[in-house]
């Protein structure tokens, strides 16, 4: 009952990302959202995908290091100020963000924040109390 993100270690070499994209494409995996943390020497590709199990299996099969991490998925209105509202809630609860990225759904007037914090349960609790809806893997599959 949570949103699971995949992280992949990417060497900082030309074509590294394109290779990963191809592996996922060949397995018919849809990317909902992604972000890359890049350093001078390596990158961490973080993704929300349509089918985690399949994605993990094909990536590992190709020798990539993949890790599944539980993150907080928050549904917000696709309007100005909505992200600020959600972040304010976390701020007031003194919850530090490790990283965050966002995506919009095709069909609905909603956007989604993918948030990584130390204590997911606490973040979900304060966000829910403030009226936000959390999303899970099952919801992502339906988008």
């Amino acid at each position: 009952m949570a949103l699971n993100q995949l992280s992949v270690f990417v060497d900082n070499t030309p074509g590294a990302l394109s290779d990963i994209a191809e592996v996922l494409a060949n397995a018919d995996i849809n990317l909902r959202a992604l972000s890359i943390a890049d350093t001078e020497r390596f990158g961490i590709l973080r993704m929300i995908v349509s089918d985690n199990r399949m994605a993990v299996s094909v990536l590992k099969g190709k020798g990539y290091i993949v890790k599944e991490t539980e993150v907080v998925g928050v549904k917000i209105g696709d309007q100005p100020g909505k992200m600020a509202e959600a972040l304010k809630v976390l701020d007031l609860a003194k919850i530090n963000l490790e990283y965050l990225y966002a995506f919009c759904a095709r069909t609905e007037r909603h956007a989604y924040l993918v948030i990584r914090v130390e204590d997911n349960a606490k973040a979900e609790e304060v966000l829910t109390a403030a009226g936000f809806h959390m999303i899970e893997d099952a919801d992502v599959a339906k988008l």
Binding site: F9, D11, R41, I44, Y64, I65, K67, Y99
Partner: protein, 441 residues
């Protein structure tokens, strides 16, 4: 002042050989009687001290390797009662890998005289001011040149390594005319002085004695130009006393080996067979005069060529080229000896796979030292800080093992180049092999 000890340094070759033979016979007896591990080696080889009549019998004696010394850590090769010793020096490396060399006062004097010969051969006189910027302590660089400078009668500045601002200030304020340090530190000092607006002709230096790491003719020229000095090479190793076993004269054509104290041989590193003069092979030293730590046929693992060609300086001592490589996998990085096996030990201890690669390069005359380590799944986290945190921990562990800190980079599995299924362990891009152009073919 052309020589520090003219009689010894210009002795005819036939006399050198005679002297070496006499000293060798005595030294073999001393070692056989007092160094148990070497006695065992000789017994195993079926050689008795009375079989050794002179240098012509040297080849019958067994070799001593660094591994032998490590196995006998700390005192197995000590040949005199400890109360007769006044000093130790030690190689870098881990506890288990260190070699401890012992010195009597006689051994210290002899070593310092060798360093004094090097200073005088480079043009030094009692009027000179010698800045010793080699590390002091267990490392032999500082102690050796410091003692040599005293013996010549120079004013000695015992700076030790590092603290570049103070080095420059003392050099300028006290009028240092000689600089002794690693060639890469000399290049770094030159760079730092340039940054401070001190032109080569403004510093008081006239010569430098640089060693403890491989350097090329090109680097010599660069240092000479950037500091406005003559740059001389010096060679030695803790096992044979320290720097000064061999030194360059003003001809700058190879290093004269102090043959009144050491016998040099070149062997085939694979078969151990002695090769004729002029052959390229592994350098082997026999200490003729050392009392406390007298090694017979010590394998240096340095590959070089020896030459008896006459030198314009008048010294009759045989000359060795700069080391042209190693017969083992040891790397010398920023003057520190590094074995790939030490890196492997750290990785395994810290829970990593031994899939790594050492990359060494020389940028602006100073060594870069990078270690790539392949990660596995358990180590990977979704945050950058988790990975950089692991890298920092590895750097600290490497520093404590090696004495110098590499840059550590975690990389993807199987990303390190393989050769026949095994990761390529060492990539040395420094191109430190210099040809000995002075050798006539």
């Amino acid at each position: 002042m052309r020589y520090f000890q003219e009689k010894a340094e210009t002795m005819p070759v036939s006399e050198i050989r005679k002297m070496q033979s006499e000293k060798l016979v005595k030294q073999v007896r001393h070692v056989y009687d007092h160094v148990e591990p070497y006695r065992r080696k000789m017994d195993a080889a079926g050689v008795k001290p009375e079989d050794i009549h002179g240098v012509e019998d040297l080849h019958r004696l067994p070799f001593v390797s660094k591994d032998d010394l490590r196995e006998e850590y700390p005192k197995g090769f000590l040949a005199v009662p400890q109360r007769d010793c006044v000093r130790i020096q030690s190689t870098s490396g881990t506890t288990g890998r260190r070699v401890v060399a012992f010195y009597t006062q006689h051994d210290v004097d002899l070593w310092e005289e060798c360093c004094a010969r090097a200073i005088v051969a480079a043009g030094g006189t009692p009027d000179d001011v010698v800045q010793v910027a080699y590390g002091y302590g267990l490392f032999t660089g500082g102690a050796g040149l410091n003692g040599g400078s005293h013996k010549v009668g120079c004013l000695t500045l015992p700076m030790s390594s590092g603290n570049t601002d103070r080095q420059i200030q003392f050099m300028m304020d006290l009028g240092a005319t000689f600089l002794c340090c690693t060639p890469s530190y000399a290049a770094y000092l030159a760079e730092s002085m340039k940054e401070r607006g001190i032109a080569p002709e403004q510093n008081p230096l006239k010569a430098g004695i640089f060693g403890a790491e491989p350097w090329t003719e090109e680097m010599r020229q660069a240092i000479e130009k950037s500091l406005g000095i003559k740059a001389y090479d010096i060679y030695g190793l803790t096992e044979t006393s320290g720097p000064g076993v061999a030194f360059e004269c003003q001809a700058q054509q190879g290093m004269h080996i102090n043959e009144d104290h050491f016998i040099a041989e070149i062997i085939d590193p694979k078969t151990g067979e002695v090769l004729p003069e002029g052959s390229k092979g592994e350098l082997v030293f026999t200490s003729l005069d050392k009392e406390a730590f007298p090694l017979l046929r010590y394998r240096t693992k340095d590959i070089c060529i020896l030459s008896r060609q006459k030198c314009s300086c008048g010294r009759s001592f045989i000359r060795m080229t700069k080391p042209m490589g190693r017969s083992d996998d040891m790397l010398i990085i920023r003057g520190v000896n590094v074995f790939p096996s030490q890196i492997e030990t750290v990785l395994l201890k810290e829970g990593y796979t031994p899939n790594y690669q050492i990359v060494v390069d020389r940028v602006n005359n100073s060594d870069t030292f990078d270690i790539l380590v392949e990660m596995d799944e358990e180590m990977f986290g979704d945050t950058v800080s988790a990975i950089t945190g692991r890298e920092k921990a590895l750097v600290a562990a490497m520093r404590s093992m090696l004495g110098i800190g590499p840059a550590v980079h975690l990389v993807a599995p199987h990303s390190i180049e393989r050769s026949e299924g095994k990761a390529v362990r060492v990539v040395d891009k420094r191109k430190l092999i210099s040809e000995a152009k002075w050798l006539t073919k």
